[in-house]
């Protein structure tokens, strides 16, 4: 099936059903995965998926439907369902049209040949290399390597159209030391391609982190100190907080703390964050977002000053501003059922400008603090910025040197306040989900252990 041609025909068909405006989004995916269980190849998978999402406007009312796609009949039924649902809706106070066609503002090729042409045998070899690189001191109880070839096409009654083909690679491995009271380590890899996945480096990381966790002592008491967050943990916290605060919908609905802050300070001078949608390393990069608005590179926070908020097409009309090209249906770790997902408004790639210090340099400058290795769940309350996170393993630093590892304590603070106390920015840029960021040191956070 030719997705471009199908999406055009589907728009016409939906308009014939009575819709005034229509948008059709088609996706086809081939996904391969290899799973490790206890150092051995446990599962090999090949998955073929294709589907459609239809959004319509009828008499001022919005309706939407999605379906896996086997035959043209599925496409017709999906469109008819969206139209029939719109009849039960209520006139929307803001929405008038889907995005029209615009030329792309930049270019990126996210179809990496090594991922596009990968076979199950390639994945099998790669995961075995990672297990071997982890060495005999630890085992790999769980591992996953997934590649996908993702083709997307969109067409709308307002002339919006794009067709893009990209690839996605995702790996997630855990390790544990052998014997009693094991320590656990974890390594991830996110990219458009396979080539940057270094099995030796991942294996080394798995071994080191598991052994560090095993040696960790329970932290007792409380301290207020500097904390270095590695890219993997910081990315999740940034998406939950800064990602939430930047969303124009949250600003319009009075639940973003940054709703009235454009042009004002939201961090100190070391906070320098851009949206970089054309970085070829990220699986989410593209010329268009997932509703056909061209993506564009832009400053989000420049030397601590908030430069812009992000709007999808709907909330741009609600706020009487232009959409910013940040509506994402895709996920950097999983490409199945993309047509079924509602979109979110986020930076395509949230990129924090690297500093010039290594983590070792940052540690040597630190009087007292911790370097986080693993948090249980690096989540932040986007509304308030509050967080209290279980530390699974951290390096304890005193007078510029690592003096041991700790666990079973809480890292406590407010992320929006913490952005005003950034002490140092590392030079270790890493892609994690849709973030391209270094390690960052935050001063004045609280560590709470049992008394």
């Amino acid at each position: 099936m030719d997705l471009e041609r199908m999406s055009k025909k589907a728009v016409h068909k939906v308009l014939e059903e009575g819709a005034k405006e229509a948008e059709v989004y088609l996706v086809r995916v081939r996904s391969l995965a290899a799973y490790i269980d206890d150092d051995r190849i446990k599962n090999l998978e090949e998955k073929l998926d294709q589907g459609v999402s239809v959004r319509v406007l009828l008499g001022g009312k919005l309706g939407q439907s999605s379906s896996t796609l086997h035959t043209v009949r599925d496409l017709d039924e999906c469109g008819a369902k969206a139209v029939s649902l719109a009849r039960f809706s209520r006139p929307d106070p803001y929405f008038k049209r889907f995005p029209g066609f615009s030329q792309p503002l930049g270019n990126v090729d996210t179809r990496q040949e090594d991922a596009a042409s990968a076979t199950s045998e390639d994945l099998r070899s790669k995961v075995q290399e990672i297990v071997e690189a982890a060495g005999s001191e630890v085992k790999v109880p769980r591992g996953l390597l997934r590649v996908a070839l993702v083709e997307r096409a969109l067409n709308s009654s307002n002339g919006g159209a794009f067709h893009e083909v990209g690839t996605m690679t995702y790996a997630h491995f855990t390790s544990m030391t052998k014997g009693a009271e094991p320590g656990e380590g974890c390594e991830c890899y996110y990219s458009s391609g396979l080539s940057a996945l270094d099995p030796q480096r991942m294996g080394d990381g798995l071994r080191e982190k598991a052994m560090n966790a095993q040696s960790a002592q329970h932290f007792k008491g409380k301290m207020t100190a500097s904390v270095i967050l590695p890219p993997e943990e910081l990315a999740e916290m940034l998406l939950a907080s800064v990602g939430y605060a930047l969303d124009g919908e949250n600003a319009l609905r009075h639940r973003s703390p940054w709703g009235e802050m454009v042009g004002k300070e939201v961090g100190n001078g070391l906070v320098d964050i851009r949206d970089r949608p054309w970085d070829p390393r990220s699986a989410l990069s593209g010329r268009y977002d997932d509703e056909g608005t061209p993506t564009r590179e832009k400053p989000l926070v420049e030397r601590g000053v908030l430069k812009t908020l992000l709007y999808d097409n709907y909330h741009a009309q609600m706020g009487d501003v232009n959409p910013t090209g940040n509506y994402l249906r895709r996920d950097p770790s999983d490409s199945l059922n993309l047509y079924r997902r509602g979109g979110v408004t986020l930076p395509v790639n949230m990129a924090w400008r690297a500093g010039n210090k290594s983590v070792d340099d940052m540690v040597s400058d630190m009087k007292e603090g911790v370097v986080i290795e693993k948090l249980a769940a690096p989540d932040v309350n986007g509304v308030t910025g509050g967080f209290a996170l279980e530390v699974r393993c951290a390096k304890l630093v005193r007078d510029g040197a690592v003096v041991g590892h700790v666990d079973q304590c809480l890292l406590v603070g407010n992320f929006y306040q913490a952005l005003k106390k950034v002490g140092a920015v590392g030079n270790d840029l890493t892609v994690h989900r849709n973030c391209i960021i270094p390690s960052v040191q935050f001063d004045g956070l609280e560590i709470v252990g049992s008394e």
């Binding site: 409380k222 639940r255 769940a377």
Partner: protein
């Protein structure tokens, strides 16, 4: 479709699978979302496809397809076997599960298909409007979500099963703001039920109470930190049951010794007041299922009995490894996802204390109220739960509301400190991932429980 699945199973056997199954699934989800009084989304989403799964020695091969024509199903069957043969995991043969035939409809009072969309939209609008109790409520969100799963399964042990699952939920969330401070509050009702969830709810009161509670949150204070006496409400008790003791009792973690509960059967793991089960047969609970995704009937598994560790949840594969019966816990998010050992409804059983008595005995402590999230730690047995809010207890009295905070500690150490368990169990429906994906509907819960736990919050 059952005949095509049977043919695919035959093909996988002929290609050399030791064990195999073929699943076909249609999942239809209807949603109505209202934001600030306006219908924001009215939708139907449907996924449909087949999964062919083959086992050779200890490795599985999967192949899935949305095109379920006979030719492509048979092609997928061959791919599944090839993938299984390419693995190198060791494992015992899965014993014969026995022939079975079944065709079950969901046991709900009011099937979503029998209720008009107009009534559903109006219900969500009513819930949303009711939240606006004060000008300080700056944002209201309301939602109805209904899911119907049609499942078919054929396996190489001559099981041919079809069954339906229906789940419905309503959710309201109000955001309050005053003088630069913003807080939210939410409530959810639902389960393995139909539209009776809505019919049984006073929608005006449901929305209004959430609006009022969001306003109260504006005055909530910072929680104390450190090791404290903590009375966990049913949702936080459920997180302790589910995230730590539950995930670590999934037998796939045990057979590879990745669980801190490995070799713990018969040992004391908590206060004698603690009994914990996973029960996929609780009527109307969100995690209830007639069969798991391997065709094993769901069951009640006792995990802890009077403080003594009792047993694990099993899939076909782990039951074979451990030489026990499967418990109906082999579940998958959908036809295109992996089958793992997963929980259903996991909870602590009730005790005989009254909540008021439990509070009266506390000199300085905290009573939690509602969860935000929790995280598993089967290796280390660490507990992390984020509470939406709580209340300070001073000299046996609830004195102040506390804003969101986190509870943490070693689960076994926490369970050993349990000295009171209330006489009422509540279940909280949700969705559980294993690692960071593979989401299945579950519930967790329990009574109010009194423990010593480390707290911290901003």
């Amino acid at each position: 479709m059952m005949d095509e699945l049977a043919l695919a199973v035959e093909r996988m056997r002929a290609e050399g699978a030791d064990f195999c199954d073929a699943r076909y699934q249609v999942i239809t989800t209807n949603g109505v979302a209202v934001v600030d009084g306006a219908v924001r989304r009215i939708s139907e989403d449907r996924i449909r496809g087949a999964c062919l799964r083959a086992r050779k020695r200890g490795s599985w091969g999967y192949a899935t397809t949305v095109d379920v024509s006979k030719e492509l199903l048979l092609n997928a069957a061959v791919k599944a076997v090839r993938n299984a043969q390419a693995g190198n995991a060791l494992g015992k043969i899965i014993p014969d599960t026995g022939e079975a035939r079944s065709d079950l409809k969901a046991d709900v009072q009011l099937h979503p298909a029998k209720v008009g969309m107009e009534e559903k939209v109006q219900a969500v609008l009513d819930m949303d409007r009711a939240q606006k109790v004060d000008p300080r409520i700056v944002n209201t969100n309301s939602m109805l979500r209904e899911e119907v799963r049609q499942n078919m399964l054929v396996n190489s042990h001559d099981r041919q099963l079809s069954w339906e699952e229906v789940r419905s939920n309503i959710m309201v969330e109000a955001v309050a703001s005053e003088a630069g401070r913003t807080e939210f509050f939410y409530d959810i009702k639902g389960g393995a039920k139909g539209f009776e969830v809505v019919k049984a709810t006073d929608l005006e009161a449901f929305g209004r109470e959430v609006g009022k509670e969001a306003l109260k949150m504006l005055t909530a204070e910072k929680a104390p930190s450190g090791l404290l006496t903590c009375i966990t409400d049913p949702s936080i008790s459920g997180l302790l049951a589910h995230e730590v003791m539950g995930h670590a009792s999934e037998a796939d973690e045990v057979v590879k010794r990745r669980s801190f509960l490995t070799d713990m059967v018969g040992k004391m793991v908590g206060s004698p007041l603690i009994t914990m089960v996973d029960d996929g047969t609780v009527p109307g609970a969100r995690g209830s299922i007639p069969f798991d995704d391997e065709g094993t009937p769901s069951s009640r598994t006792v995990i802890i009995k009077d403080g003594v560790y009792h047993g694990y949840m099993q899939s076909l594969e782990t039951a074979a490894e451990m030489g026990v019966a499967p418990t109906g816990n082999g579940r998958a998010q959908s036809y295109d996802r992996r089958v793992w050992v997963r929980m259903t409804n996991t909870f602590f059983e009730k005790g005989d204390h009254k909540l008021e008595e439990m509070i009266a005995d506390v000199k300085h402590g905290v009573l939690t109220d509602r969860m935000i999230s929790g995280m598993e730690d089967p290796v280390g047995g660490g507990f992390e739960a984020k509470a939406l809010r709580g209340f300070l207890i001073e000299n046996g009295q609830v004195t102040k509301m506390l804003r969101s905070f986190t509870l943490t500690g070693n689960a076994l150490e926490i369970l050993r400190t349990g000295d009171a368990v209330s006489d009422t169990v509540e279940l909280d429906g949700g969705t559980c991932g294993k690692g960071i994906e593979d989401w299945v509907p579950v519930s967790s819960g329990g009574p109010h429980c009194r423990f010593k736990i480390v707290l911290g919050g901003d």
